[in-house]
Subunit: 938 residues, 2 copies
Amino acid sequence: PHHAPPTHPHTPTPTHTHTNGGMQMSSASRLRMLIEIDLFRVKLENMSPAAERLRHILGEDDSTPTPTIFTEMDTLQQEGGELEWKESARWVKFEEKVEEGGERWSKPHVSTLTLHSLFELRTCLQTGSILLDLEGYSLPQIIVEQQITDGLIPPDLKEKIIFVLLRKHRHQTKKPIHRSLADMGKSSNTASSKHVYSVCMPFYVPINHAQSRSMNDISDTPSTDQLKNKFMKKIPRDAEASNVLIGEVDFLDKPFVSFVRLAQATTLGGLTEVPVPTRLAEPFTNPTGYLFSDVAYKARDREDLIAGVDEFLDEVIVLPPGEWDPKIRIEPPKKVPSAEMRKSVLNLNELGQVNGLAGGAAGGEDEELPAPHELGEELKFTGRIGGGLWLDIKRKIPWYCSDIYDGFHIQSISAVLFIYLGCITNAITFGGLLGDATDNYQGVMESFLGTALAGSVFCLFGGQPLIILSSTGPILIFEKLLYEFSKNNDVDYMELRLWIGLHSCLQCFLLVFSDASYIIKYMTRFTEEGFSSLISFIFISDAIKKMVGAFKYYPINRGFKPDYITAYKCECIAPDQAPALGLNASAPLADDNMTLLFNLTDLDWSQLSKKECVKYGGMLVGNSCKYVPDLALMSFILFFGTYSMTVSLKKFKFSRYFPTKLRTLISDFAIIISILVFCGLDCLLALDTPKLHVPTELKPTRSDRGWLVMPFGKNPWWWCVASFVPALLVTILIFMDQQISAVIVNRKENKLKRSVPCWRKEEQRLTGILVFVLTGLSVFLAPILQYIPMPVLYGVFLYMGVASLKIEYLTFWERIKLYLMPPKHQPDFSFLRHVPMRRVHLFTLVQIVCLAVLWILKSTFLAIIFPVMILGLMVVRKLLDLMFSQHDLAWLDDILPDKDKKKKEDEKKKKKDKKAPEPESDEEVRKCTICQVWICLS
Amino acid sequence: PHHAPPTHPHTPTPTHTHTNGGMQMSSASRLRMLIEIDLFRVKLENMSPAAERLRHILGEDDSTPTPTIFTEMDTLQQEGGELEWKESARWVKFEEKVEEGGERWSKPHVSTLTLHSLFELRTCLQTGSILLDLEGYSLPQIIVEQQITDGLIPPDLKEKIIFVLLRKHRHQTKKPIHRSLADMGKSSNTASSKHVYSVCMPFYVPINHAQSRSMNDISDTPSTDQLKNKFMKKIPRDAEASNVLIGEVDFLDKPFVSFVRLAQATTLGGLTEVPVPTRLAEPFTNPTGYLFSDVAYKARDREDLIAGVDEFLDEVIVLPPGEWDPKIRIEPPKKVPSAEMRKSVLNLNELGQVNGLAGGAAGGEDEELPAPHELGEELKFTGRIGGGLWLDIKRKIPWYCSDIYDGFHIQSISAVLFIYLGCITNAITFGGLLGDATDNYQGVMESFLGTALAGSVFCLFGGQPLIILSSTGPILIFEKLLYEFSKNNDVDYMELRLWIGLHSCLQCFLLVFSDASYIIKYMTRFTEEGFSSLISFIFISDAIKKMVGAFKYYPINRGFKPDYITAYKCECIAPDQAPALGLNASAPLADDNMTLLFNLTDLDWSQLSKKECVKYGGMLVGNSCKYVPDLALMSFILFFGTYSMTVSLKKFKFSRYFPTKLRTLISDFAIIISILVFCGLDCLLALDTPKLHVPTELKPTRSDRGWLVMPFGKNPWWWCVASFVPALLVTILIFMDQQISAVIVNRKENKLKRSVPCWRKEEQRLTGILVFVLTGLSVFLAPILQYIPMPVLYGVFLYMGVASLKIEYLTFWERIKLYLMPPKHQPDFSFLRHVPMRRVHLFTLVQIVCLAVLWILKSTFLAIIFPVMILGLMVVRKLLDLMFSQHDLAWLDDILPDKDKKKKEDEKKKKKDKKAPEPESDEEVRKCTICQVWICLS
């Protein structure tokens, strides 16, 4: 092992004999200490600047990455007359302190230090013994003997120091958190006598830093295994431990400092935690990609370590004491500059521009632009027919077998269940709404079968089995518009839809073979925001329209007075016999009904139901005839309740209650929980609210259609050709929808939740296939599904509309909100730091105008071509280049590719992940177009 | 003027000629600079430690407080070929930067600095010229000539420097925030060419710091007056300005540094902002009670200033670079250590214990106990009969006249309106609920008159006109229990209530004359929490009970099928004539009704209303008879809607939208807005929901009572004496309620919102009197009030219950929530840092048990004595001393007075602010007991 002798063993003279005891020092002695540090500094830095030295060490060998470091700090305490090392803080990413009084771990927080403690540490490094790359046995002996050899401590203290170093270690978790009630009375007394020992130490203090390069020394003691294991999960597998020991004893008159690094990570038992290699005090072993851990691993000698401290001092961030209370614990920031970034800064010799002397350097920030979004090489434009597809197949084939075999794993079961529930919720909701939009020509049953078949095929042949196929909003809206169109124009919907499906399938194949998905790069955030906002608004307005509709469909008897209940009635009165027969003749009556009618006497009229009465030409007379009690209000309660409950449960993820896992689970199943709760409420009140229409047998939702749709017969022949046009719209829609999903997946670096892989081992084909097989089998759920009231689904509908306004990286909605916020309350969005407010507002205004135009067009006869209008957004975006500077657009949107450096001619393209599944029957051709890429699991 | 010659004019040799330009320096040059600083430091500190020096300056003369400082930093920029000083940051409490790109002010944030910038600044102070206590004329000349005299700059640069210093100043606000649309296209182009000038400066840089001791130089330019005025409001009146100027020019080869302090605060014009006295760069001029501003004001020479910087360095808080991204702006903390506190720390020579070297010092925190709540000297126990009252009168009489005359102020009008609305909302709500609880023996009308009379009397004679009298929950609950008691026991409520009022009034006077309010000190948070939680739970459970009651009162026809509407009817069927007559005889019929009955033929039965039918003994036959449509659901919507809307509007105060004032207004009027909205909804649907019962004329709510209640006659005579006992209960309630209000007022230091004085100039008697006169006049509002549906009031009731669980300093509810939170998600309550979790849980458990016992007692016949049970809480609290250590109790509760240091024998007592108003009539005697201290304004 290397051994670096101390450079200045004589310097830290024991001048400060009258400290206030404990860790705190008098102001005067601190100043003297500063002077000493400064003197060293002057000498050292005249020789070789710290930065140069570091560049040398770190640049030397980048092949072995520094492992994650778990740091534990133990302090020497006297408990019941015995000395022991007690854990007082730990670091994985941030600091967690042991709350002495609270007897528990604090929340992780950013460590705050005093400048003085940093200087003190530097002195320690200069004067203590540095032992690098030791073997991990008999360490206390080696450390102490080294110090005796160096003349740092007198030989007669050897036994005493080794005794202290070998005291047993008590970890925070070893103290049972729940004592018995009998214990509780006692502990309150010991609490007040704490810290007595620290007062009676007149002399200064040994600082001892020990490090074991392994976690296992902590879990060696079986009694704490379980508790510890919980925390073990938070530590990466390759982590190594670093132990810091600090204590005070009365037999030393100057600090005993030692830094030890072991050659190999060694598991040291819980009791023998002391004789382990050393790392320095905590601010430096903080592992959040901090440079110093690299330095500590690669340092060749004492000077390297000191250079590390000096670099640390240069990079340090200082808060003025008057503006900050040091007792406040700073929450860990979401993002921290990576060690790599900061290393490169070091190499570029540009440190210190972080925050210029006078803040004047802040202007420099403005030069930076947001990082452009990297698109995968899958999006390359090959220029050959089917070239992209061929590349995709070449890429995927080697993994095909393992994609299936990997699925035989116990964890797959929970993954299957989880995704299945997600899929089925979606299928029910969209199925219900689709049925509503198409008069049940396509209902829940069709939705289930379509999802199941298209999903299975996709999982078997698709390029990205991570994606779950499902219906999406745009398609739903298209179906609705198409159905209205065909109804208004007397076209047979089923036949038209079949042809559209066939055409669209063909067009999809054309897109696949022409590598069309490379145009994804023209799809900037502007387009995405326009697309998704329009869909959101349609969702929201439709949900509200439906709800208002309920109040019209079930009119409330406003003037009702409970006292006059006797005056409210609705009677069916027989028309005069002759006109009644006349009327009946015009009504479509079956023969046996006719018979029935003639069997009726006059008295029977009052027995008829409302529908029958109207059917047979009776007159409904009375002041309650046109009112329906309770249903409208009940529908509203179900609608609004489902919506609010879903919102609350989704938000519950961010509450403080219950463990994170449970909260995530509740949040993930928010929609299904809300549906269940409000179905329950509906059942409880047993009111005749409108219910989801599902056939109880495996037959089409509507009885007048079969499974097979005949391609010819009901519409004029030219519709077969003409349906090419609406099919083009569907294709555009599918393509846009898929492309937007692809953009999201390709922005994984943005930490989008929707794109996080949800079941890797968790990622294979088998799980997906199972999910869709289960979905197919769910058609037998019909007897249960028919209890779902429609207002509940409208509530979910509203939720989906509102939720998709708030997708994390789409700032449109956030920017609209800015209009209502005074500047000082506005969130610190990065674009607000770089783009003037009025430009931001102008950009938002352009988007609002675009949306308004789209909305107006949607309300006219042009509605059906709305997919094309969305493509128009891309044209508007192109025009924005004339109105806004590229700088502003880079912050508010993305920059269009041809504006990017021309040198990047290698155009990016993505092979469409969703490859249109092969048609299996007439039905499936239709279905596959409504099943869309929906990255379903948040 | 003093003039301190530079100590080391030769030292900053122009060695760093190759800086990267602008404010940033190469790593090498920075290190060299550090060395220089350190050398100075060593010399300086060997002579005299900074702390000692500071203690000397600051201790010298504490008579003149340092004014609040507004600091502005201007940087030299070239705009359109002309040099100008552009404002780039400002400090009032925290830093606000000019967002170069965003062209706006950033949010106030904590300044983050690099250590390097601090050292650089120290060098500047050592080398530049220091000019103290100058007169404010021709400053550029003086500064530059001084530097020439000192040999810091060559004489030929004089004109050039003066030219630069005299360039005009552009403030952030001078740039119009809203340009015309035509301008918008242009600005985007200039944006990208920014900062070009800063690259072409090869040499290092003059740093010039200038300060004007006045605000007015900014508002001198008329064009910005308005914009600036808005910001002026945020600056205290006695503020003085400090200007920091930083710029770079190419004709200087070393820094030109100058610190000037003017003898007198002088208003300097916007253009001549340069020639003004200097203060140092921004971290030091930060005025949040930072010591350095004191130092800057009192420094005698250069060494004093440098000592200030050194102290600053010692106190600085350091964040490790790996755990923090310097780009994040830190939100200002809620509380910052005050300058006084930190000064005293300085004097005690105990600096640096903030956060020990290894965090081990954190244990020391545990020694500290929360500050005990100071009670005012008004609560002293005098030992004389009426002694407290006499003292109160002596204290208040001198102010009595001005208390009234001060009210003649235009601002009083808005205060009156505001408080009036608060009072009336309260009177309506409590009046409505009280009427509901007492079968309208005491309704809204009585509530209005009682509030008005008692309030006016209180405002005329009360000791603390800030307090607004109003009904409170406990009294409401007592009235409810009393009414139930008298109904069940056949006692006349009105007569009993009168006697209780008389007795209670007498007892209140006894309390006043015996200085009883000194027992307030035994009322700890434990008692308060028990009291207010019980009331909250009663509120919540009552509101829910009422709501459930509505579903029983208006049963929903669950099986209703809209199609069978014809089958639903309810008919009144005549009983057989003979039994009917028999039945009628037993019913209480007036003579003319009898006549009417005999005039009726059989046919008329169907015309009768439900009530009439029952009255005349008819039979209600039909399947809709026992159902009432819509009302139950509508009531629920009104109830829940009012509740949720009130909650949302109250929360709106903390949203980011709209200016703070508007939000506060909306939040303050949340209850009234919600009531109005849901009354509107109710009107819109025009359903027959139960409404608030208010008489339309000035007469008692119930027609069978008069304004005067006869004291004798209906009850046995001994009730007059026996009512002493329930009167005692009322007295206890009033006393408890008032004492709890007093505790809150006396905890003003806790920043309780409820105790913030709401209309000082805003505080006098006239406003209060006007408010209550208006309240009295509001009895004529009856025609409007009768449109308020009861479910809306129940919603407010629920809100009040839930809201009072969340009163800021009552931690009971917060501690209950801790049961459900995993430790790492728990908020950083100070008691959690100091008391072990299981002790906290145990304490909470004790409280839950107490509440459960109270709740059970309340449900039995013991309900009426519940005020006494609450007194029992104080006994339980006494027993807790045996179970918990004083340390734990100090954090979780307060310490009981006799446990406090025995030396504090001067027991504190508060003369009751609420002095029971003189009886004016029988009615008022009763009312004054239900009108309670209610600090009504948020």
